[in-house]
Symmetry: C2
Amino acid sequence: MDSETTLKQEVAWASHLSLQACLLPAPKGTSCANYARCVNQILLGVNNMQLWLRIPLLKTDDDSMDINSNSLVDSWELWNSFRMLCEHHSQLSIALDVLSSLPSANSLGRWFGESVRAAIIDTDSFLTNARGYPCLSKRHQKLITEFFNHSVQIVISGKPVHGLPKGSADLAANNNDSNFDDWVLQKVKDCVGISCEGFEEENKALFTAIEASHYKDKLASFSNPANKGVHRHPLRSYLDYVGYLYQRMDPLPEQERFELGYRDFLQSPLQPLMDNLEAQTYETFEKDAVKYIQYQRAICKALQDRVPDGKALMITTVLMVVGAGRGPLVRASLQAAEETGRKLKIYAVEKNPNAVVTLHSLVKLEGWENIVTIVSSDMRYWDAPEKADILVSELLGSFGDNELSPECLDGAQRFLKDDGISIPSSYTSFIQPITASKLYNDVKSHKDVVHFETAYVVKLHNVARLAPSQPVFTFTHPNRSTNKSNQRYMKLQFDIPSETGSSMVHGFAGYFDAKLYKDIHLGIEPTTATPNMFSWFSIFFPLRTPVVVHPGSSLEVHFWRCCGPAKVWYEWCITSPSPSSIQNSNGRSYWVGL
Amino acid sequence: MDSETTLKQEVAWASHLSLQACLLPAPKGTSCANYARCVNQILLGVNNMQLWLRIPLLKTDDDSMDINSNSLVDSWELWNSFRMLCEHHSQLSIALDVLSSLPSANSLGRWFGESVRAAIIDTDSFLTNARGYPCLSKRHQKLITEFFNHSVQIVISGKPVHGLPKGSADLAANNNDSNFDDWVLQKVKDCVGISCEGFEEENKALFTAIEASHYKDKLASFSNPANKGVHRHPLRSYLDYVGYLYQRMDPLPEQERFELGYRDFLQSPLQPLMDNLEAQTYETFEKDAVKYIQYQRAICKALQDRVPDGKALMITTVLMVVGAGRGPLVRASLQAAEETGRKLKIYAVEKNPNAVVTLHSLVKLEGWENIVTIVSSDMRYWDAPEKADILVSELLGSFGDNELSPECLDGAQRFLKDDGISIPSSYTSFIQPITASKLYNDVKSHKDVVHFETAYVVKLHNVARLAPSQPVFTFTHPNRSTNKSNQRYMKLQFDIPSETGSSMVHGFAGYFDAKLYKDIHLGIEPTTATPNMFSWFSIFFPLRTPVVVHPGSSLEVHFWRCCGPAKVWYEWCITSPSPSSIQNSNGRSYWVGL
């Protein structure tokens, strides 16, 4: 009871000082319910401050271990118990204590789906390089780089244990470290609050913090010997080394930089069939050169297959772009015709009357009037004057069929010749289980069922991908089968590698891969993703109740694509390790309008 | 897809006919996700009709069984998956198919916490008695009786397979069974709707239903040979036997009959400290003769211990009734004095000024003015003119301390002599895990967190008690320890017998047992409950997320009693088999005002 009173007083003081976060000592042993109860009470009362729970980065890989053993084998379990007891509170985060030996890569990966805010590296975990300076093992370096990538603050802690070689002291004397000290002090104030159980005493003046991505310039200036100073911080050489690791990182590719603001930001998927897209949306997607190059390559191949070289001048191929938008696929088709020397007649069918206006301007501007006929109509109801050799469309969502490409192309294939070609010729959706505490908390913050039963478009970053993705639904065009239903049901089983340890599944990342024509494909499934294409982020299907999967048990998932008279929707659930409820029954929360 | 369409059509037809329920075929095998998805969709659309899922009453007790085996070993698991997939929908219930061999008693017990609406007994499950009539095994008889007790409708199904002895046909011919047939038809219409997958065909005209507790008279009249008729229903002899089992049951004791309306009905616990009780409430509790007899016995013993026989006429014992209400404990004290021949001076302290009015009348009416002093004050703040030998109180709630007896008596013990006696001298709360789908659904129907974080007073009936109860918090009076805190923390581990199989824990039943004085106790803990006492129902602590406990894993539960400046509250959680959130943190949903 005394400890509880003290903890509450100290946190109240930290909160009074408007600190951003407060570091809490690691729970002891495996039973942390009473500590969690106390922290949970604090969390419900605290305003904006975060509580960072110290967790040692520890997992013994002893599979033969008695499962009922009370000894701590995986500190992730400790964190998981604690955060579940605290109801996944969004202000409860993690400060990882990085030790001198590291668990397996898979096991480490889990933490990148969790709310890790700081990594505390004790000076004991540093090695010594040939010149006597502190350095880290290759695996530690890789981990630190990943921390930087995920905006995890690095904290150096402990006593300086690396004797510096002669001469470096003089160098140090030349540095103006009062600036540096101020900055460290500021960082300590900003980021790492007070501590409990004597942590403050122990670490007084030994606190060094670098926040990734923000302080590069500052670091550079501190590393500059031109800054003269009196005191050299006793942990300066450790900081220098961590700074060096940061500076050594490759700069982010331009596209990644552009997408920084979208990381882990949930968006509602577009409904281009039900809603008309805005000009800005067309503008953005039309910039995706890679996508149109793939289409052009596919159209080239199709044209060549359709019309032999010898007959190139005699035969005019009828190509229909269904869902022409403002014309990028019309352009790609014309370029393919030019590239292959085939003659083309194009119908550009578009149901958005606003886009049709732009389309008319484009055709006039480019002088395509003789080749391109613009049709302002919904492809599902258009009464075509002739049949097409090639049907070109790009109606794909992040999950392939989720923008109702199947339903649209079922309508359009009425005017495709019996031996005609559809580009794309097929597409498949994929899912994989992920840890994504940030996304889960964002969904949960709405405090309703609807948001848990919605799929989101999101640039996944702060996630752990727990098992390879698996295919879900495939649609082939034209659909010549007698069963024309676009309803689908798939049961999947994911096996999470046992060396990962237990993991939290917050939901499923979804992707697609489309076969445009023969070997030309397009997609975002991570292992086969088309490089440098930016039209699609992943999709995220959340679980209302996140589920912990223990090593040895597999995750059984069910996905349905359901079709009603006016809408299409997905339902999903898990049945193993334990049954969930079926989410989005009858499309009550999330659906795509026909 | 055809099956799905047909099922939906048939259920729509049943709903159109305003049937009360519709019987659904049992899921096949262990994977029922697609069937459940379909039923779940129906449940969200159907109005008042119930869906009764047929479940074979089946559990093999093979502990050595491979846990990963796909064969069905426990049909409860099947039901559990199905209902979890359907999000515990309150209109999804069970029709148990009772087979000729029965699982263990513990395993059967689980079903009495579930929403079983009908038990279907095939004629094949009947034995034949010496006279050639159908009868059931002892264990079946016991089970059927339990079904009656839980208002589970008995349905007899199948072909008549018991050849009746000669002569009974004549008897049958004397019965007027057209009445009976009408009644059966009515029952079929009322209760058991259409069926799917040819069930109707198979069972046409073989449907016989008895609803427990409602149709006793009707049954009696049908059994009466005076009712003449033409046709004897081919299953009549089976029905007669089931009717006989019903008639053979002991009538409910008066108290149980009185409490029928309270069964499984959630009530908010009283807050007699914060709120003043109403006259009607006093009236009810004062009728509990058993309770006051126990108090009188305890007071007798205390008086005898306090004053030896030889000094009975010389010494006047000062007895204070704290929380005197309208006076029943004053009366019990006076009767104890008379019984033991001890001289008594009584202070009756009561904080409810309305009850004090009645108390004054009582004292005047009974002529107790010389012995009884009435004090209109809160015992915590009363400035007593002298110290008491004996402090008598009854401030107990269903969970013992939940009406703040500890806080009140801590205040009152200021005016108890150092060697004085408190009646009660101690009390302990108990909990046990239960299956209680009805209670869970009632709590869930409020669709908020508050109701899941509230404890309820409830007459438990439709529940399965999964493990023996265990003590939680004990309070002793007077409290002479240096640590006067009434905060408590208890971690409990429940082991559910493995022969029970997997079970669903919807929450915890809570009880108390109070030691009044020496061996005189009072309580509602089931194994030691004081007979025929009706002042307390059990308490129920729900779990926000009910948890399935599999054989071999134990249930670890944490309970806290927390005290703030103005209120006292409980928090609770589980940490095994998997951690839950901590419920009612900071008493945000449920608390008792000081």
